[in-house]
């Protein structure tokens, strides 16, 4: 089955002769064509158009005329736009700190859930719920919870501390606004890590673990020396998926803070949106999009080669 394609061209006249059409490659190309064309329209075409736009000034709110600007947009973004640097930093904080917390919590919960025997399925089902909730709705839920005047969280903090702690106005304070986005993201995606790692734990060979146990390895030794190394490739994929998603963090920002106060909680996706669809600076927005793309490609390449090396080590 694996070499159907490689044989198709060299043997297809003989298959004709035998009346066996199964290695006919023409329908195969035809089948893949619609998907190919559609996917080209979000990759190659936008890539070309974004790249072309990134060298011009196009202020749609002023006029539809494009003026060539050379590398101006790029130099502005990388050297003269602290707001973009801030958005990059915020995104990096979400990607590194937020995702790390998701991994650690997800791992702990997966290890616990895997010991639960017959009731496991019930636990897992309940934990799955946040994943499938629209981020817009998650954002709304937490906006109510974090609300300074009527939110249950600040009420609880005031009650428990007997009024001694004055909780911050979470989404409305420059020091906590990004944190609210991170907490909501952790709420939504820790269950994903849990599911992923639980599936990974299930696929571990019981014999290896039994052998380690017989050799006298305790629980933590088994975890650190055996389980985590075997889970590493899955873990890397999970981290990669989540990190790529943080570059898309947009819905939560809009619902929770609108990037504010000031620009304290702006992410790259949100700042790009502001430039494109509030200021209508299409040229500059294109340059921002292109810079993101480069960062994403570099990060994902890094992760994939790391994962490949991991797999190589295990073999």
């Amino acid at each position: 089955m694996k070499n159907v394609a490689t044989q198709s061209t060299s043997r297809h006249w003989s298959q004709r002769l035998l009346g066996v059409e199964r290695r006919n490659w023409r329908p195969a190309l035809l089948f893949v064509l619609p998907a190919f064309v559609l996917l080209l329209s979000i990759t190659i075409y936008p890539l070309v158009r974004t790249l072309a736009l990134s060298f011009v000034t196009l202020e749609l709110s002023v006029s539809p005329v494009e003026r060539f600007n050379g590398l101006g947009n790029f130099t502005k973004a990388l050297t003269a736009d602290p707001r973009f640097g801030n958005a990059m930093l915020n995104t990096a904080i979400l990607a590194v700190i937020g995702v790390t917390i998701q991994v650690v919590l997800g791992m702990a919960l997966a290890l616990m859930a895997s010991e639960m025997g017959r009731t496991r399925a019930v636990w897992v089902t309940l934990f799955m719920i946040p994943i499938m909730i629209a981020p817009v709705v998650s954002g709304f839920q937490f906006r109510v919870i974090f609300n300074d005047t009527f939110g249950p969280l600040n009420y609880l903090i005031r009650e428990v501390s007997n009024g001694t702690i004055r909780p911050p106005p979470w989404t409305a304070s420059t020091s906590t606004s990004l944190l609210t986005i991170m907490i909501t993201d952790i709420w939504q995606w820790t269950p994903f890590m849990l599911l992923l790692l639980l599936a990974g734990l299930d696929s571990l060979s019981q014999e290896v673990i039994e052998a380690a146990r017989v050799d006298g390895a305790n629980y933590w030794q088994q975890l650190i020396r055996i389980k985590i190394p075997i889970l590493l490739p899955i873990l890397i994929i999970g981290i990669l998926i989540r990190m790529m998603d943080t570059f898309k963090t947009f819905d939560l920002v809009v619902l929770l803070t609108e990037g504010g106060p000031g620009s304290s909680s702006e992410t790259v996706a949100y700042y790009t949106y502001v430039n494109g669809f509030k200021f209508f600076s299409m040229g500059y927005t294109a340059a921002l999009a292109f810079i993101q793309l480069v960062v994403i490609v570099v990060v994902s390449r890094g992760f994939l080669s790391l994962q490949q090396r991991q797999r190589g080590d295990l073999r």
């Binding site: 329908p27 719920i129 906006r143 947009f250 809009v254 999009a289 994403i296």
Partner: protein, 277 residues
């Protein structure tokens, strides 16, 4: 040993329950909020459970009628259903070709996967400009197209995995009996991967139903999906918290149903077939 195990499970169960409080409280609070009056929302101490006579659909009817929820639900349904059908239809064909003929080789399959990494904001500008030129902004078509494109890699990879699990012999015998390639796909493969098709349809439906950014950028007045409605209500001057909560409860129904009915395939779906459970 057995009592030890029982104690361990009780202890772990207690910790997991605490964790569940964190993961389910926001949903529960939104549900309770959807039955409160505006006064109760601002009350201190907060009203935990609304009085019995308020367990009615007042806020739901308000969200659906006064706030335009009915149109929003209809728009979201149309866009999500059409996106699911188109992306699974196109995706199944491509998946079949990739699984059975290795069309384009490994490289092509990974290129398809990598398009999912493309940041949507980056394609939003060119897509916005095309749709504007084609006069498609603020129509269902713009959203269906944009969402289909972003769900295709998912549908292709998921279905490719399901097809690769089938033995080729069944299709082979159909081909020898004179079926065309499409005939073999349509009559033999498709019925056998029904669980995969259902999984892909439901996932793409929920992803599209939950989608917000394109919905916000590509629509104005004529089309207004539920996510956009919720955001615009939450960004208004006098915020009707209970009505938004009601709209939020309506918005999470498809996702919750997916969790209940598709548990077995959720991990597979979320990792695009990379992991099976």
């Amino acid at each position: 040993m057995n009592t030890n195990k029982l104690i361990l499970r009780l202890g772990l169960g207690a910790i997991l329950s605490l964790a569940l409080v964190f993961f389910l409280f926001p949903v529960l609070w939104m549900f309770l909020t959807s039955f409160k009056t505006q006064d109760q929302i601002f009350a201190s101490p907060p009203v935990l459970i609304p009085p019995q006579d308020q367990w009615n659909l007042v806020n739901y009817l308000g969200a659906l009628n006064e706030s335009g929820g009915l149109q929003a639900v209809r728009d979201s349904l149309i866009v999500a259903a059409a996106t699911a059908l188109v992306s699974v239809g196109v995706g199944a064909l491509a998946a079949y070709s990739l699984a059975r003929y290795r069309t384009g080789g490994q490289q092509f399959a990974f290129w398809i996967l990598s398009t999912r990494m493309f940041p949507p904001v980056a394609s939003a500008i060119p897509l916005f400009l095309i749709f504007r030129e084609l006069k498609l902004l603020d129509t269902y078509w713009a959203l269906i197209l944009a969402n289909t494109i972003f769900n295709l890699p998912f549908a292709i990879w998921l279905l490719k995995g399901f097809i690769e699990e089938l033995p080729y012999e069944l299709e082979e015998s159909a081909l020898i009996d004179g079926a065309s390639t499409f005939g073999a796909f349509w009559r033999v493969t498709l019925p056998l991967i029904r669980p995969g098709i259902v999984t892909a349809l439901l996932f793409t439906f929920v992803f599209t139903w939950n989608e917000f950014m394109f919905a916000l950028l590509m629509t104005r007045r004529n089309v207004r999906p539920l996510t956009v409605m919720i955001q615009s209500l939450a960004g208004g001057h006098e915020i009707l918290w209970a009505q938004i909560a009601a709209a939020g409860v309506i918005a999470i129904i498809p996702g919750i149903l997916l969790v209940i009915f598709l548990q077995r395939h959720i991990v597979r779906g979320l990792t695009m077939g990379a992991l099976k459970n």
